[in-house]
């Protein structure tokens, strides 16, 4: 039957020719090959996000008077609603984690250098988008923590000189976080961001497909000198089957987290209430939040928070353009970029831990 379907497709679309690149695609095999799975796992979690997100849309109602109740309804009344929402939330967090891990693996394996500059840029933009998904999605249950985290988060946006306040008003749909912010964030979360992410994701995958897997510089030198030492496996089915195993492991982890630690609903937001003591953003924003807290209120004559926001903006831009500072020759790799990567990883991890432990 499968053969008949295949023949049917082949007659009309030249199917065999269409999937030929997949057949010929190979993946380098070496002791660091496991890092190649991270991109696939992130993609898998993204697909989970899309599927569970669509299911949540069946019951979720955006609006200050309905959002919390609809999520509560999903968690308590809808059959397996708790599972879908918990998987959606856990998967979001795991996806951001694997996206970060994927980025750092690319950085340490020097996979961003020529000719993969655009792959890096599209990947970093996808990471920013994923964080945007996290920020916009966090408000949707309309609980106390989400409300005040969004108030603080959007207020930080307002610190950007000149465009900051208009941006904040645009994000909030007014000067304060209200029901208008909720519907706006809902729109970003389910329409704007997915649209942009899909285009960027397709571009990213296309570039990966077109340019193939990067080989670490040292290995590239060895394999160029000694071609017989080169080890590869077929992408289809060998690598894909291994990737499938990784996806199953991720699925098992998601299921376990959702069943044992269902995502908390919290208490409905009260815009007139006071912010909970020691409120913190989600863990993936914690390193930035903690940095802003540590910057003095005035640095020379510049407002500390403004300086911090501008600093992060500049670092983000330079991070995006990182491949253009790197040599494409394995023998001329820039050591300082590796040093920077180590520092960035230590800084993000350290500040996140500090922010988590700080009162």
């Amino acid at each position: 039957m499968f053969a008949a379907i295949r023949r049917w497709l082949d007659e009309r679309f030249d199917w065999d020719d269409l999937i030929a690149p997949l057949r010929h695609k190979t993946v380098p095999t070496h002791r660091l090959s496991y890092w190649y799975f991270l991109g696939g796992i992130t993609l898998f979690l993204f697909v989970i996000q899309v599927l569970t997100g669509i299911l949540l849309l069946l019951y979720y109602r955006p609006g200050a008077n309905e959002a919390f109740e609809s999520v509560q309804y999903i968690m308590t009344r809808v059959r397996f609603g708790w599972l879908i929402r918990s998987i959606h939330s856990w998967s979001a967090n795991l996806m951001i984690f694997t996206a970060f891990a994927h980025m750092f693996s690319v950085l340490f394996l020097k996979a961003y250098r020529k000719p993969r500059e655009l792959t890096w840029i599209s990947g970093v933009l996808l990471l920013f988008l994923v964080m945007g998904f996290g920020f916009s999605g966090y408000l949707l249950p309309w609980n106390t923590l989400a409300y005040f985290a969004t108030t603080v988060g959007t207020a930080i946006t307002g610190q950007v000189p000149i465009v900051g306040r208009p941006m904040m008003i645009f994000l909030r749909g007014g000067p304060e976080v209200t029901g208008a912010t909720l519907t706006r964030f809902f729109g970003f979360h389910v329409a704007v961001l997915p649209g942009i992410a899909t285009v960027l994701l397709l571009l990213h995958l296309l570039l990966v497909q077109r340019l193939g897997m990067s080989i670490p510089p040292k290995l590239e030198v060895q394999w160029t000198a000694n071609p017989s030492a080169r080890r590869e496996m077929k992408f289809f089915p060998n690598f894909l089957l291994r990737e499938l195993m990784a996806w199953y492991v991720a699925l098992g982890a998601l299921g376990a987290l959702a069943a044992v630690f269902p995502w908390d609903l919290g208490v409905k937001a009260d815009p007139f209430g006071s912010a909970p003591a020691g409120i913190k953003p989600e863990w993936y924003f914690l390193f930035m939040f903690q940095t802003l807290k540590l910057i003095p209120s005035k640095v020379w004559f510049v407002d500390g928070e403004v300086l911090g926001v501008l600093g992060f903006g500049l670092v983000g831009l330079l991070w995006l353009l990182l491949p253009f500072f790197e040599s494409d020759q394995p023998s001329h790799m820039k050591r300082w970029i590796t040093g920077l990567a180590v520092f960035a990883l230590a800084y993000v991890a350290g500040m996140t831990a500090y922010g988590y432990l700080a009162k």
């Binding site: 308590t76 195993m245 492991v249 098992g252 376990a256 044992v260 609903l265």
Partner: protein
């Protein structure tokens, strides 16, 4: 200034003997002298008195804290004289109306000369009452004072002098949190109170009470202090038959229930002071269900005998309360575990507030000592607690169901992983 001080020196020794400065900023200047004193800001008195030792010393800093000074009154408003003159002879001349130290016997009348004048007081604070002096005259303090007992409190004993602050100022001696301490300055002093046939342990007892806890520790300014039950200017002990009226100002529902009880008539007949019989007065503790028991905290058994009809009724009431309390605790415990397991039980947790409310209402209804009234709340509470307990149990069943489902899913995933591994091995061999 130096000339002034030199001029003052020969006078000061004599005036020290005359004594304390006293007062009475509280007693703002009298109505007739208002035209001269109100708005008077030149105050040469402090030029000298700020440099004098106690009891004649009054610093500018101290006097500036006084509400009367803040309203523009000066020393002359109470003490008379001419504060505009730099010459002590003129400033403290009898011709200028200088009174010197205000005699203790004159204090209440002097204060009252302004504070009993609504027209005068209205200019400063239209909502300030002007019946303090008339109330004082009805108080134990006032009556004794009129009879010639000068040891009893007059205005300045409670309100202080020269730095009188409004009662809303936390530094005021009559700020709610400070009232008990102010009263205790006399009433807890056994030597001072010698000769009066009242105890001196009120403050010690009050300091252990639930009311003190609420007022001084929790900062609940609506909690009672001495003046809440005894009155302030018209302070008298509430009569035995009026205790219930005093307590019911706050504990209205308990009072309504008590009205229905057989105890009311019985206590009245026996001249027992209502609420105080079971709850005591100054040292009121937080009541517990053990009051209805037979243990060391039992209050019923102080009057009733074991086995009598009332004892049986008591046991019935206690049983109902205990049953609801236990039901609430069990439901809370199950819901807590369910919540800690990540189950969504917020509705049931919220519902438990109603069950606890029922218990509170039942405890209030105890004051009626009518089992049917108490049972009404007990049964309502038990029904709610049972429903919430059921919700908690269902959540736990659901939790276990999820975990079993997880186990099966993980097993299935494990089998698929093993199959994939074998298949990869096969195609690569």
């Amino acid at each position: 200034m130096a000339i002034l001080r030199n001029k003052l020196r020969p006078f000061s020794a004599a005036y020290v003997g005359l004594a304390g400065i006293v007062v009475l900023a509280a007693c703002l200047g009298c109505g007739q002298s208002y035209g001269q004193s109100h708005g008077q800001t030149t105050n040469s008195c402090l030029d000298c008195h700020s440099a004098l030792p106690d009891p004649l010393g009054v610093t500018q800093e101290k006097f500036s804290q006084d509400i009367h000074a803040q309203q523009g009154l000066t020393c002359a408003s109470c003490h008379g004289g001419d504060p505009t003159s730099d010459d002590p002879d003129k400033a403290m001349s009898r011709k200028a109306g200088w009174k010197g130290k205000i005699d203790r016997k004159q204090v209440t009348e002097l204060c009252g000369s302004c504070h009993s004048d609504p027209a005068y007081i209205r200019q400063f604070n239209p909502s300030l009452r002007t019946d303090q002096l008339s109330q004082y005259r009805t108080s134990v303090h006032g009556k004794r004072f009129a009879a010639g007992d000068t040891k009893v409190a007059v205005c300045t004993d409670c309100h202080s002098v020269h730095d009188i602050r409004p009662p809303s100022d936390p530094r005021s001696t009559v700020y709610p949190v400070n009232v008990a301490k102010t009263c205790s300055r006399c009433h807890a002093d056994a030597d001072y109170m010698k000769g009066y046939s009242i105890p001196t342990d009120q403050f010690a007892k009050y300091s252990t009470s639930v009311h003190h806890q609420a007022l001084a520790v929790r900062g609940d300014l609506s909690a009672p202090t001495c003046s809440t039950c005894h009155g302030n200017h018209g302070a008298v002990p509430p009569g035995v038959d009026k205790v219930q009226n005093v307590c019911s100002n706050c504990h209205a529902f308990q009072a309504q229930m008590y009205e229905k009880s057989t105890h009311k008539k019985a206590f009245e007949a026996a001249s027992l002071p209502g609420c105080v019989v079971c709850h005591s007065n100054h040292g009121i503790r937080h009541p517990t269900d053990a009051y209805l028991g037979t243990g060391p905290d039992a209050v019923c058994m102080q009057c009733h005998s074991p086995g009598d009809a009332c004892d049986q009724a008591r046991a019935g009431l206690l049983s109902g309360l205990t049953q609801l309390d236990e039901a609430n605790k069990t439901a809370d415990q199950v819901l807590r575990v369910a919540e800690a397991s990540g189950m969504e039980v917020s509705e049931a947790r919220l519902g438990q507030d109603q069950a606890r409310d029922s218990l509170t209402k039942a405890r209030v209804a105890i004051h009626s000592f009518q089992k049917n009234l108490v049972d009404e709340y007990i049964q309502a509470g038990l029904k709610i607690a049972a429903k919430n307990l059921q919700a908690g149990k269902q959540a736990m069943v659901e939790r276990n169901y999820r975990r079993v489902g997880l186990g099966i899913s993980l097993l299935a995933i494990g089998i698929v992983l093993a199959g994939l591994r074998l298949y990869i091995k096969k195609i690569e061999s």
